[in-house]
Symmetry: C2
């Protein structure tokens, strides 16, 4: 039976972007529904009590499966749609991919996005005024530390978790791509990371993300340039 | 080939406790190694760059698998040790269990443990002085909201994610058990949650947690009482 798939997401939300990339890599078509989650839409709260995107709905005839939280959706997609696998076959590779997803979802979010995205995007959405320079500086310093970590991994690996593209790459790219939209990634100082990101950017799964535009907040000039 | 298993953990860390409970439910024996993570031990950083417990090491002869991050470990255990499954069979049940793990690991941690555990345990460990009353009050108010959410789920379900015990129950119990050690759970106002916790507390997997004692910080009188 064919599956009708709907993704509830917000274009500049890193968690939502991970799922869009995974669906793209797995060539699973979906209808999108964009939710401005900071306005606390009831429709979203009914599907996910935490009120956050992304939420994936899969309908097989009358049977509907609702999956909330990006990591829950990624595990669901791996289990139910194993074609174009996004976790390595071996236990150590899977562990490494999952460790890195957790790293980006928790540590990168707290130390980088919590400053840069908060100051440059969330404050605008919530009408909280201009970015604070000290917070931007703190986010930028942390971003450099995280980029050094990525650069170290990529000096002895093709992809973040090892020899194959995995959810770890999608998680990292999703987070970095939003920061890149703001023009905040110092690519020139991280050659291996820039090359890795260029390879990801060229994949068909990335195209919809490069087309995202947020009203009143235009992207950096190089944002959708495949050879930046 | 037999597996030698080592868990690096800290007794009062909710993430570590989830993994101890899962290993207990799956009847998988392990050696434990306790790490005072706030002292930044090198041994831990070498296994998990984020410097946080838990880390699981499984050795099959010369082949060693290192799994860091509680959710990565829980997924690993489900995949590699499917006996005594801790995720429901159906996609919706699995999604619900994973949504709730994310809820506790992110939302409960930020809104409750970030205040109560920080003020009552972390400040003591780090020598940061006495708890702040306003922070304790905020944590206690949030705890009541989370307990109401749990109570609502348990009025129409036997276990948090549905009809069977799952990782969602272990995640919730791990977080609540540390708060309970501090005597901070108002059980008397949440009858269904208290009954659910009593059932969990009586399970053999819970016994090691009830025996935990932190020097200088004795548990609440009822902490290891099965009929509290």
């Amino acid at each position: 039976m064919s599956v009708e798939r709907t993704l509830i997401h917000f274009p500049l939300d890193p968690a939502s972007r991970q799922v869009r990339l995974a669906l793209g890599e797995k060539k699973l078509p979906f209808t999108e529904q964009i939710e401005r989650y900071w306005e606390h839409p009831e429709r979203l709260a009914a599907l996910n009590p935490s009120g956050l995107p992304p939420v994936l709905i899969e309908a097989r005839g009358a049977i509907q499966t609702v999956v909330a939280d990006s990591r829950a959706i990624l595990e669901h997609l791996e289990e139910r749609h194993p074609d174009y696998a996004l976790l390595p076959d071996d236990a150590q590779g899977r562990a490494e991919a999952r460790r890195l997803i957790a790293w980006f979802d928790r540590k990168f979010t707290d130390e980088v996005n919590g400053f840069l995205l908060h100051e440059k995007m969330e404050k605008r959405l919530l009408g909280l005024g201009a970015p604070e320079l000290s917070a931007l500086r703190r986010g930028r310093e942390s971003l450099r530390q995280h980029l050094r970590m990525i650069e170290d991994l990529l000096t002895h690996r093709d992809w973040l978790a090892g020899g194959v593209l995995s959810l770890a790459d999608l998680a990292a790219a999703a987070h970095l791509s939003v920061i890149d939209y703001m023009g905040e990634v110092p690519w020139e100082d991280f050659a291996a990371t820039r090359h890795w990101y260029m390879r990801l950017k060229s994949r068909p799964s990335f195209r919809p993300l490069l087309a995202d535009r947020f009203p009143g907040l235009p992207p950096a000039a190089h944002y959708d340039d495949l050879d930046f």
